[in-house]
Amino acid sequence: MRRLTDREMIARCKKGDREAFNGLMEAYHKQVFNISYGMLSDYEDASDAAQEVFVKVWRSISGFKGESSFTTWLYRICANVCNDILRKRQRRGMTVSLDADDGEKSPAAELPSDAPTPEESLEADERQRLVREAIDSLSDEFRTVIVLSDLQQLSYEEVANVLKIPTGTVKSRLNRARNALRKKLSDKRELF
């Protein structure tokens, strides 16, 4: 039994085929969650955001004309949903830290390290924590390009399509975002 292509699944989704939609979710839920987590740094928020993204996709897929690729459209909705959540956080004056003690261990804190020794493991964890915090402190605009390009490993052209900006602007923002990270982490240089 051959796996349906994305195009076939989308065509079936447009006719209300929930099985086909489940197939799309199976194929893309991890990427959507990864982008959401990259932008929001909070497991629950990322989970809510991913759900919201797919509900929006279901409700508007019949209007998807295929002018852009499905992933471009999907990631664009994801970026918008995450930016919405970030704006709501700002209005409430909330900040999120991976180290915040909310009385419950977040799954993120239980991630295993693959460093061979305890010391290296600690250093690797510390580097990741510092970079994660530095990314979280970036503006929404910079964080978005870093998450899409450096975390999600999308090409410059793909990021440009998602954000509907020229490729040159993607590179420019990425340069500025990376330079900002370098500056923020410069006093911890010895760990890198």
């Binding site: 929930r18 979710m25 839920h29 991890k30 969650f33 990864n34 987590y37 990322a46 989970s47 991913a50 759900q51 797919f54 509900v55 929006k56 279901w58 409700r59 508007s60 897929i61 019949s62 209007g63 998807f64 664009r76 909705i77 918008n80 930016n83 919405d84 704006r87 700002q90 209005r91 977040s106 799954p107 993120a108 991630l111 580097r127 990741q128 970079v131 994660r132 503006s139 929404d140 605009e141 450096d150 975390l151 490993q153 998602v162 954000l163 509907k164 900006i165 602007t169 993607v170 590179k171 420019s172 923002r173 990425l174 340069n175 990376r178 990270l181 370098r182 982490l185 240089r189 890198f192």
Partner: protein, 382 residues
């Protein structure tokens, strides 16, 4: 290559060609300090790429299906109608819009010609389209995010709707600084692209409108509208916005120390007149070069009260290619145009953003102020 050039190239890493990358690495092999810098930079990128992401919840897909199951059937039918109707409405409305524009332009030819030759404005007519159903209500009243309480038993097919309340919505609000750019350019601390760059203060705000130096507000279609159409036409031109008188250069200025406003890089439309007179040198420059200079402008600036108000505005930054669809969503979401931008109730604004999400339109909303139950913002095109 010297170390200065190395650092300049490292700052522009994403834009390097293969040849430039080779030069960078060659210098790094010869210079210990630069090699350390390059390794530090690459190490950050490597750690970024390896930041672990937890597995998504096992019940994520089930939860999505539960939420979809809770959507009333009538809402699903409406969604389908909306999505399908848009495909039919757009070509019909486009034809109707073109015919009406032709009529309006023909009737107002002289007035338009006068505006186009008027150096105080940019001479572009902005238009807007308003679509309502037969009851004067917006077609897409439901928010994608909310389940409506009332169930529509028999939704009418959405064909060409009867327009009862065409709203005069300027595509882009007024351009307050367009004509004053020359005065501002000379009085303000100018952007210094090279060695004298000002050290950045702490920036926490998202990119704002480039108020300095001499940059007028970002807009894709400066508004010089004609009179509003008398008939319930699909196209109405917005009213000419009154340009406030700009204070003279020696007028009192408000200094914002430790400015929290960052000027964003982007593509700015600068009127011909402003470009011609805002240049610091006599040498004519291409539009692209002018834009490049105005794009990076960070630091502490003296600003007028008007500029300060401009910086404090809420901004919705979108792609220029999406303007028409965005105006369409505004009309449907009860987002109203004013002389200084747009305004909507909080719920209407949330509905508007949901529509943009559903259409897959990318936007960046920068909120600097909030006022009660209303959201006021300006629309900027990227």
């Amino acid at each position: 290559m010297d170390c200065c050039e190395f650092n300049r190239m490292l700052d522009n890493y994403a834009g390097l060609t293969d040849a430039e990358l080779s030069e960078l690495e060659k210098h790094a092999a010869e210079c210990e300090a630069c090699r350390g810098e390059l390794e530090f930079f690459r190490s950050i990128m490597a750690v970024t790429a390896q930041i672990p992401v937890p597995e998504p919840p096992l019940d994520l897909i089930d939860k999505v299906n539960s939420r979809i199951d809770r959507i009333p059937a009538a809402t699903r039918r409406l969604d389908s109608l909306k999505n399908g109707a848009r495909a039919h409405i757009r070509p019909i409305m486009t034809i109707a819009a073109c015919l009406t524009v032709g009529l309006v332009v023909g009737l107002n030819h002289q007035a338009i010609r006068d505006r186009l030759t008027d150096n105080s404005t940019d001479g572009v007519i902005s238009t807007s389209v308003s679509v309502t159903d037969s009851d004067g209500k917006d077609i897409d009243e439901y928010s994608i995010n909310e389940v409506p309480e009332t169930v529509v038993e028999d939704p009418q097919p959405v064909a060409v709707p009867e327009q009862k309340q065409p709203a005069a919505l300027p595509v882009i609000p007024k351009l307050p600084a367009a004509t004053a750019a020359p005065a501002k350019a000379t009085a303000k601390p100018a952007f210094k692209p090279s060695a004298e760059r000002v050290t950045l203060p702490v920036i926490t705000q998202a990119p704002a409108v480039p108020a300095a130096p001499a940059a007028p507000a970002v807009q894709s279609k400066p508004a010089v509208p004609a009179q509003p159409a008398a008939a319930p036409a699909t196209i109405t031109a917005s009213s000419p916005t009154a340009e406030p008188e700009k204070a003279a250069a020696e007028s009192e200025r408000d200094t914002i120390m430790n400015s929290r406003y960052r000027i964003a890089r982007g593509n700015y439309h600068i009127p011909e007149t402003a470009m011609a007179t805002a240049e610091p040198t006599a040498a004519p420059k291409s539009a692209e070069v002018v834009k490049e200079e105005y794009q990076i402008a960070m630091g502490t600036y003296e600003v007028t009260e008007e500029e300060k108000a401009e910086l404090l505005q809420n901004k919705l930054i979108v792609s220029e290619a999406d303007i028409k669809e965005i105006v369409d969503c505004m009309n449907k979401s009860r987002v109203r145009g004013t002389t200084t931008g747009y305004v909507a109730s909080s719920s209407a604004f949330a509905n508007f953003l949901s529509m943009l999400d559903a259409k897959g339109i990318y936007y960046n909303f920068i909120q600097n102020t909030s006022g009660g139950g209303e959201i006021k913002f300006v629309l900027l095109a990227n």
